[in-house]
Subunit: 365 residues, 2 copies
Amino acid sequence: MDPDGPARQVPAPIGGAQRGGSGIPGGRRKQRVSMADVARLAGVSSQTVSRVANGHPGVVGATREQVLAAMRELGYRPNSAARALRYGQFNTIGVILFGLASTGNSRTVEAIATHAAAEGYAITLIPIGIPTQDNVLGAFTRMGELAVDAVIVIIEIHLLDAGTVTLPPGVHVVVVDSDAGDRYSVVDTDQAEGARLAVRHLLDLGHETVWHVTGPETSFASQRRAQAWRLALEEAGRPVPPPLHGDWSAESGYAAGLALAGEPGCTAVFASNDQMALGLLRAFHERGRAVPDGISVVGFDDIPDASCFVPPLTTVHQDFAEVGRRCVQGVLRQIREGGASRPGTELVPTRLVVRASTAPPPTRP
Amino acid sequence: MDPDGPARQVPAPIGGAQRGGSGIPGGRRKQRVSMADVARLAGVSSQTVSRVANGHPGVVGATREQVLAAMRELGYRPNSAARALRYGQFNTIGVILFGLASTGNSRTVEAIATHAAAEGYAITLIPIGIPTQDNVLGAFTRMGELAVDAVIVIIEIHLLDAGTVTLPPGVHVVVVDSDAGDRYSVVDTDQAEGARLAVRHLLDLGHETVWHVTGPETSFASQRRAQAWRLALEEAGRPVPPPLHGDWSAESGYAAGLALAGEPGCTAVFASNDQMALGLLRAFHERGRAVPDGISVVGFDDIPDASCFVPPLTTVHQDFAEVGRRCVQGVLRQIREGGASRPGTELVPTRLVVRASTAPPPTRP
DNA sequence: TGACAGCATGTTTACGTGAACATCACGGGC
DNA sequence: GCCCGTGATGTTCACGTAAACATGCTGTCA
């Protein structure tokens, strides 16, 4: 940028004409209406304008009206930069994330934004295009200069495990979906419980074992679901089939489904999210394996569409709204108490929503 | 506008009168490290620190190193409030929207965030919980005090048609998905073309006419799709069946599907989005109406999951990323040229993606 | 009636940054 | 040897706001 305004000496371009009046081509870089401008028009001091703007007492009715009229006439809007400078805070929370496209993220962000708004905070999004170390590092660095009072991180924090990267000191931070509970304040869905619920449900229906389609290896949520799946099987003394690897997309679930359809012993599958479960349903349908009579499917997330899959999907419900709420709660606590990030993990419970994609296994011939 | 809000919450700057180390343990009060602090440690003036921080020339190597070392030692981070105050801009774009949950919105926002980031801008989200006049008005008002240089509006702007509401003057603004092209700069998907493509596709396959499931009445996108659907049928001289009304959700599509399954003359349906199309597929499946052999279904959006519906869905592809890109382009142009919002509508083209949910109508007995 | 309480309003100042201007040291040309 | 140009660095100031402090006026009570 090149803000070389030679004529920026002028302290107040007013003089009667306000915006378009003067013959000056292009309003240059003059700030818009300030308190001083309003004060001049209203014939009071700028401090009185400030008092009126902030609803402070001690301004008599007539004066107040005069000031308000001047504000309206000039279209005064408070300058939040100056205000932030004065107060030392922005009333803004930064959210670092990798992609809004994933269902969970957008719902979590929405909840964060909503709850933050209720507390008078706005949300600033810092998206990471590709989650490489460099990009993440860059985002954290930029973070430092960003106009935010606190940060919520919704990326796989273990990308930062190299240890060379640390959040700028003094930044309040809450992390979602991570194993960094020993270093940061973490809010997370109880992935393990959810996966266990899914597996137990299928075993209780009488299935010998449960196959699993994972999410991407880089996802901590996926890792934990897979781990809990394995554990639940082992605890029940069941064989643990080799997991299939997906990438969250329905297409990858479809590919896994085509493979699983060829496994005669496979009667139950737990997919690490609903999209992949959708892919499974399609594959099984195309291969003539009836769901749920021939094979059962359980997903994870409980996206709104899941109730209209064919058949409606049994899945683990995640409370994204609650995750968002607790994130906001967490950072606000830090901001207000002034403390640094307090390590620890908060788990948001899950619940199983049983629909029509699960049933007892077919009776063996 | 009414800048006279309720008393603003002011975090009392604790401590005595001076910045000196008031022995208060709950060290909330003072700003963090400033240039002056760095300057003191490095034994230079704060202006020199500023030069180093901004990479300006004219600082000799040794001095620069000294300053950098001091910065590292103190953990200096520039104060963006002061910077914004100085420069008169925030490098931030505000996005007003109603819910990220809708597929389109989150993808558009993601694209906006990505492109904005590439230009050095961050995104501030202002969510509107329930799109009542009051809430929208409130958001626009808050907008005025927000730390943003421009605004992108992704709500049904006709909510504001009362005319009592206007954007704060001087705010750069781009609107998505709206009929306000005469007042604002608008970027929109070519809804009409998309709907026409869908209808033409079905008619070309030999269907006598096409039924339609709309989105909510408050949605301008839905209105335009419905209008284009009607027009395409009329142009072809076909009967126009009564439209069924949904609310974007799969469940509402399911309800519509149950109704349509009872219409023997219905052989083709155009749903206003993919979620509702999913609901249709479920309903038709449950009612034994085979898709596409008994009845054809076309959606709108081309969500990633659509390729794994049963059967894979023929749908109209929306280029959300392009919409986001143009929004950013639009506001940046306004910011740089300094002009106000220039009325006009930019249309982003759509294309039909043919999959397996459409086929010629069954031959009449 | 005078001193003072109480309240409306004005004045000063600091917040952190960076442009514009000031200063200072050094070296080369005359 | 002196002057001046050049380049490094310091000083001043304004950006818009609001707390702290100062002023000035009104009315009241001893």
